[in-house]
């Protein structure tokens, strides 16, 4: 027996991921930013809503590392708190897209036939809607705030997941071990949950990793339009929006949130790319 065979597939994937320099860089940067956001309440002595007009719009200094905004709020603190919201929205909406997309896609692919055609037709129709427009309309209609935001984003992000999972399930369900399970008389539910879904997990993880940045992007876009998080809470998109207003006089209010935001997107995308190579070497690197 070859020694390489005795290494578990997950360990092999982890090994391949470690070879991917940009992905590891992404992982490290992401951990740092994530940790900073997580421990924000203990890290800074300011709060995200504490205003002090006398200290309005000071450039970066020893007291306020990244300066303050026009209302005298510490920008570093606000970026970290904004990051908490951005990350939270990214993770929750991705979780929602997993919860809807994976069972939907798996069922569609597994059942096949007319059911499959109908379920995919539904996805296609929703897919063909001009979706940023619908998210905007939805936000205008349902109202602004965290929950409508999650709903609106979750409503569109599960589609890609469902399509992907269906495609994978179609391929996996023809394999021998699934037929064997059928012959052994296992229930459909058991076959799906024990045999098929674990086998498409790699693809799902990759897709989920890449869904997080696209959700964060959408959240920021909506916040930028003024439809997302409402003051005094903030998110990165909201901070960037404020930064654009005072662009000429106080450029740091635009630059620092933009850096945090872009570095995070960068890291997540590279991590996703690395994971794709690591978990499924057959899939091409760019789609």
């Amino acid at each position: 027996m070859n020694e390489a065979d005795s290494i578990s597939p997950w360990a092999q994937s982890w090994y391949r991921l470690k070879q991917h320099r940009m992905a590891m860089l992404g992982l490290i940067l992401l951990s740092i930013i994530g940790l900073l956001c997580l421990i924000a309440p203990w890290l800074t002595s300011y709060t995200y809503r504490e205003q002090n007009i006398d200290l309005g719009a000071i450039p970066p200094c020893a007291e306020h590392w990244l300066g303050t905004d026009t209302l005298g709020r510490d920008l570093f603190t606000r970026i970290l708190y904004g990051g908490r919201i951005s990350f939270m929205v990214g993770l929750i909406a991705t979780a929602v897209s997993l919860l809807i997309g994976v069972p939907y896609g798996a069922l569609s692919g597994y059942l096949g036939g007319r059911t499959d055609r109908f379920m995919m037709r539904v996805v296609e129709i929703i897919y063909s809607l001009p979706y940023t427009i619908f998210v905007i309309l939805l936000m205008v209609v349902v109202g602004r705030g965290l929950l409508p935001l999650l709903l609106a984003i979750g409503a569109v992000e599960w589609l890609a997941m469902a399509r992907l999972v269906r495609g994978q399930v179609l391929a996996v369900k023809e394999q021998e071990f699934v037929q064997a399970a059928h012959v052994l008389g296992q229930s459909n539910f058991k076959i799906l949950s024990k045999h098929i879904i674990p086998n498409v997990l790699g693809t799902v993880i990759v897709c989920a990793t890449l869904t997080v940045p696209s959700v964060m992007l959408l959240e920021s876009f909506l916040s930028f339009l003024g439809l997302g998080i409402q003051a005094p809470m903030t998110s990165w998109g909201d901070l960037i929006k404020d930064g654009v207003v005072t662009l000429e006089e106080y450029p740091w209010m635009l630059i620092f949130p933009s850096i945090f935001f872009s570095v995070t997107l960068f890291s997540l995308n590279f991590l996703g790319d690395g994971l794709r190579d690591a978990l499924d070497p057959r899939v091409e690197a760019a789609r």
């Binding site: 940009m22 129709i125 063909s128 809607l129 001009p130 940023t132 427009i133 905007i136 309309l137 939805l138 205008v140 209609v141 349902v142 109202g143 940045p213 992007l217 920021s220 876009f221 930028f224 339009l225 998109g237 960037i240 929006k241 930064g243 654009v244 662009l247 000429e248 450029p251 635009l254 630059i255 933009s258 935001f261 872009s262 997107l265 960068f266 995308n269 590279f270 091409e284 690197a285 760019a286 789609r287």
Partner: protein
Amino acid sequence: MLSFIIKRILEAIPVLLIIITATFFMIRLAPGGPFDAERALTEEAMERLNAYYGLDKPLFEQYTQYLGNLFRGDLGPSLKYPGFTVSEIIFEKIPISMELGLYAFCLAMLFGVTAGVCASLRPNTWLDYSTMSFAMTGICLPSFVLGPLLLLVFALHFEWFNASGWMSGTDKILPTITLAVYLAATLARITRGSMLEVQSQDYMRTAKAKGLPGWRVHFIHGLRNALLPVVSISGPALAGLISGSFVVETVYHIPGLGRFFVQAAFNRDYSMILGTVLFFAVLIVMFNLLVDIVLAWLNPRIKITQST
């Protein structure tokens, strides 16, 4: 071919109908109305306005009436801009968005595909890595970050361009770049991936074995096939670009349709929202059809009559 096009257009009708219906009931069931934002109107004036625009009738009757008017090509009057019809406003605003979108699309195609091809011809070299890192940067700099940053550096700091407006030729440079970067980056990644995939195909080996010069192998045999995924995403992308970008038009103060649509949504200008949504949807359907035709022309193996 003709029957394929007719079939696709017929297929699009239910989709468009669903879009209109969903939009109609969504905006009508939402709280607030088109006449709220103005100075508080007397009850009588409000009633008269509602009656004038037919907003006092039962909702379903309004819906059927809207569909009837739509059938005759009438999108109705704007509720916020008295005296203008929705079609007038759309056709006044769209040329600006279209111009900007087309520039951005051409720029993105030029740079994106070129970069992708270059990277794929020298895979895993510094050229490949640097091009792809650039592409990734482009993907991670959304237009609402990139736009203001470009504005800050090139318009405010160096003062090479006007900070806003849509008058002279140079005004169009920064918005075009802002709008193009994301698509260019995406195209570069897709082109590279599909060029690399094509390299391992049998017909590429055949072409090389025949002794064709390298450029012929890569550009005539390789690129033509590698362009298929590029074409299929560029259709919806072009539809998206020419229908106007909310962000770019807001950042650079361009009077296009994108900015107008967001305002209409905020103002609850019902007929305006419906009109623009329908317009966008028709654009997307049209470009998807166009993409399928181009794909069939590029790749005769796709039989248009069979694919639905």
